[in-house]
């Protein structure tokens, strides 16, 4: 009994004392609003380790800086603000010096010429965490490929910080235009994603349209008028040699696109005033009709897994977007907004579809989910059309044409968030861009 009474007394006193002694629950808050601003970063420089690497080091630093800043996601801190001078690649990073100038990421690299190659080493640091992000990397390439080397470095940095896939080391094929609008000359050209290293693939003797890269980036399909009628031609990028794909006499073929495995081509075929989608096996030349509607079906684009095709059709009375199986059959309409939808392109990530939309006298580039939901218009202009996805599915490039008799076409790019709309530098007027996959 005494034990019971004693325990009762102890419990009564300890009951209130216990709550005081126990650990407090953590203070819990929820942050739902942040800021969207470019992440400040610093490049301590790609330090030349050999005397003959000084020029390459400077150029490489400039390209890396341009790549990162050009995304709109990063902002380079000017070198004049740097406190710590990193003179060697292995110099320890004094994080407080970089925190003081609000650098959140720091790149330290070096360049050396070794065995006839450019060798680049670099490290990436998270300044405020005070630690290195990932392991340091070393890349080597021939001196003539130093730009690709710079893009590779940028890709690594970009991916480590953002978590997105890389896309700087890629190319874009487009139609380079020249001459007056009523006598425009067009030829195929290919360039780095940032407009550098332009190479012309065809001459200006005939009109070419709508080039499309194969998944491996070695071939290009495009529409040519060299026979007087639109026909599909396949070009080998390395050799610039091209051949016409077989077709049926009396028909027009256009709007081609490779299947993900590169073995087939889906395209539009016009016959007796009716345009339908067809599929061709490149090796055998065998064709398969995918649609039989009396309306116009065109601009097909494969899903990344090759199981479905998105295309535009006016079977409902206006141009709308539809999705069907690669083997043909019933199609499901996915666009229901006001206006007309055209030139759909499936995202490399498979989650979205980019398109051109015409509504109320304006053209827009937009994106939507593959079921048609969450449609968002990214641009608005007199004439925007022909979107193409970057290899990581984060950026869209398209054609923007200015009005008037002297209006010109130019290439623009925009982040899929709608930010960072900018003109892509080209030697002259340009249209119909098609982004290559990431280069090997």
């Amino acid at each position: 009994m005494m034990r019971f009474v004693l325990a009762m007394l102890v419990a009564l006193f300890a009951g209130s004392f216990g709550a005081l002694a126990q650990d407090q629950e953590p203070l819990h808050i929820t942050i739902t609003d942040g800021v969207i601003e470019p992440l400040p970063f610093a490049i301590a420089g790609f330090i030349p380790e050999t005397p003959d690497a000084a020029d390459v080091a400077a150029q490489l630093t400039q390209v890396v800086s341009s790549d990162l800043s050009g995304t709109g996601l990063f902002r380079e801190i000017p070198k004049s603000a740097y406190i710590q001078n990193i003179a060697k690649f292995d110099t320890p990073v004094n994080y407080s010096d970089w925190q003081a100038i609000n650098a959140q990421a720091l790149v330290v690299g070096s360049v050396a010429m070794s065995g006839g190659k450019v060798v680049v080493k670099f490290r990436l640091f998270d300044v405020f965490s005070g630690q290195q992000m990932g392991e340091g990397q070393q890349l080597a390439a021939s001196p003539g490929s130093w730009r690709r080397l710079a893009h590779k470095v940028s890709d690594v940095i970009y991916s480590r910080i953002t978590g997105e896939g890389p896309y700087f080391d890629s190319r874009v094929v487009f139609v380079s235009e020249s001459g007056p609008k009523n006598a425009r000359q067009k030829r195929l050209a290919v360039m780095d994603y940032d407009g550098a290293n332009v190479t012309y693939l065809t001459d200006a003797s005939t009109i070419v349209l709508a080039p499309r890269f194969s998944r491996d980036g070695t071939r290009v399909l495009y529409t040519t008028f060299e026979t007087g009628f639109p026909r599909i031609k396949m070009l080998d990028v390395a050799t610039a040699s091209a051949r016409l794909l077989p077709d049926v006499p009396g028909t027009m073929t256009f709007a081609p696109r490779f299947s993900p495995d590169g073995k087939k081509v889906v395209y539009s075929l016009e016959q007796n005033g009716n345009t339908d989608l067809w599929m061709m096996d490149i090796a055998s030349g065998q064709t398969q009709r995918l649609t039989t509607s009396p309306s116009i079906e065109t601009s097909p684009s494969f899903s990344p897994d090759g199981s479905r095709i998105v295309f535009e059709s006016d079977r409902s009375g206006t141009q709308q977007l539809y999705i069907m199986s690669t083997g043909g059959g019933d199609a499901t309409r996915i666009s229901f907004g006001d206006g007309r939808y055209s030139t759909p392109v499936w995202s490399p990530r498979g989650d979205m579809i980019a398109f051109t939309k015409q509504n109320s006298g304006r053209f827009h580039i937009g994106v939507m989910r593959t079921d048609g939901s969450e449609e968002r218009l990214l641009t608005s202009s007199f004439l925007d059309e022909g979107p193409t996805w970057s290899p990581n599915g984060r950026v869209i490039m398209f054609t923007r044409e200015t009005p008037g008799a002297q209006g010109e076409a130019a290439l623009y790019s925009v982040d899929i968030s709608g930010r960072n709309l900018k003109k892509v530098p080209t030697p002259g007027p340009a249209s119909d861009p098609a982004w290559s996959p990431l280069l090997p």
């Binding site: 034990r3 300890a14 009951g15 004392f17 942050i31 609003d33 990214l378 008037g404 709309l421 003109k423």
Partner: protein, 397 residues
């Protein structure tokens, strides 16, 4: 005698003992209270004849009460036809305007009758020295609060003719006899000039006016961490009965092989441990850790953290990922950087969680460098903070 019989006899004995006890002492303890005495009034019965005789001898008209005898009742509602009497201004108040009469006359114009016809309206520029024409407050019913138009002050005399002549107006523009060629922006504008127009080249204006999600976002009201309702006060502590009962039960069964008898110390320790390990039922603990963090203090912390949470460089997958970070705080309001850890995530996996975690960690480190605005006297309340970084409103859809 088995156990059931024992219980039966015990219950029966207890009941009988209770009845006997009630019979012995209950009579005095439970005596009913005496009821209040009934007041008896003596009445007399009056016949109808007597009543008629009494009524006939009564006067025809009863005397009406005098008007001044009705004064104690509620004052009559003043209206347009019968304004209430306004007490005469006090002589002392007229000569010495007191601060009590001048301030805030707002309620008084509604309650006093229009005296503009009886008194001179004050000059508009000399309000402070105006005679206190305001009558003392008059008790009137609330329905008399209809607005009364106050007398308009007289404007100051101003010269109606300007001392100097106004300058002559500029001559009217003449219509040119020759028509100028109409500008055609499309034909003459250079392409570079067109594309360099800020409206054309700037992404955000074009994007923000068209993107549905951003248009929707503008309708969103800023979220506040303030609670929707005030927290209920903590319940009164419950007596820690379970622990002693458990001890008693264990002690009452010494024969049980798996529950050996416990010493006094073990029983006490059990009770103490039960109390310490409880869910706070023994008290609210506010005496030692101070009052709870207020909504305002929470909001201040949220504002401080969110301005450093930069999601601009996050991948679209990371923008679909909510992460919960835990950080230990130092008493001076600075976070212990090494203690920042991921305690939960949803909506993403792998690299996306890592990216979201790094962005959250960066926010804590950056904005915590100067210390968070937290009350030092409530350190026990915020010595550990868990932060959900939820990019729902920030992500790209």
């Amino acid at each position: 005698m088995n156990r059931a019989d024992k219980i039966g006899y015990g219950v029966s004995g207890a009941l009988h003992a209770g009845v006997i006890l009630w019979a012995v002492v209950g009579g005095s303890w439970f005596q009913p209270k005496p009821s209040e005495p009934t007041v008896i009034s003596q009445v007399a019965v009056m016949s109808e004849q007597d009543f008629n005789t009494m009524m006939a001898s009564a006067p025809k008209d009863a005397p009406q009460p005098k008007p001044d005898q009705q004064a104690p009742t509620a004052p009559a509602t003043p209206d347009a036809t019968t304004p209430p009497e306004t007490p005469a201004p006090d002589a002392q108040a007229t000569s010495e305007p007191t601060p009590k009469a001048l301030p805030d006359p707002a309620p008084q114009p509604d309650t006093q009758p229009d005296v503009s016809a009886l008194t001179e309206p004050p000059a508009p520029t000399d309000v402070a020295e105006a005679p206190p024409v305001m009558a003392p407050p008059v008790e009137v019913p609330s329905e008399t609060l209809a607005p009364v138009i106050s007398p308009r002050p007289k404007p100051k005399d101003v010269p109606r003719v300007a001392p100097e002549a106004a300058p002559a107006p500029p001559p009217e523009a003449k219509v040119s006899e020759q028509a100028e060629p109409q500008e055609t922006p499309d034909a003459e504008a250079k392409p570079d000039q067109v594309v360099e127009k800020p409206k054309e080249a700037a992404a955000p204006p074009e994007a923000t006016t068209e993107i549905v999600t951003e248009a929707t976002k503008t309708d969103d009201k800023p979220e506040s961490s303030a609670p929707l309702s005030s927290p209920r006060p903590a319940n009164k502590p419950k007596p820690p009965a379970p622990a002693p009962a458990k001890t008693e039960t264990a002690a009452a069964k010494p024969a049980a092989p798996t529950a050996p008898a416990r010493t006094d110390n073990s029983a006490v320790n059990d009770a103490l441990a039960a109390a310490l390990g409880g869910e706070g039922t023994g008290g609210n603990g506010q005496a030692a850790v101070g009052p709870p963090i207020t909504a305002g203090e929470k909001d201040a912390l949220i504002v401080d953290v969110k301005q450093c949470w930069n999601v601009g460089a996050l991948s679209s997958d990371a923008l679909r990922t909510t992460v919960t970070l835990s950080v230990n705080m130092r008493p001076d309001g600075h976070p212990d950087i090494g203690s920042i850890k991921l305690v939960g995530s949803s909506g993403g996996t792998g690299a996306a969680v890592d990216q979201a975690f790094e962005a959250g960690k960066r926010a804590i480190v950056r904005c915590g460098a100067d210390g968070f605005p937290l009350p030092a006297d409530k350190y026990e309340r915020w010595k550990t903070i868990e932060i959900d970084f939820n990019p729902d409103k920030m992500r790209m859809k």
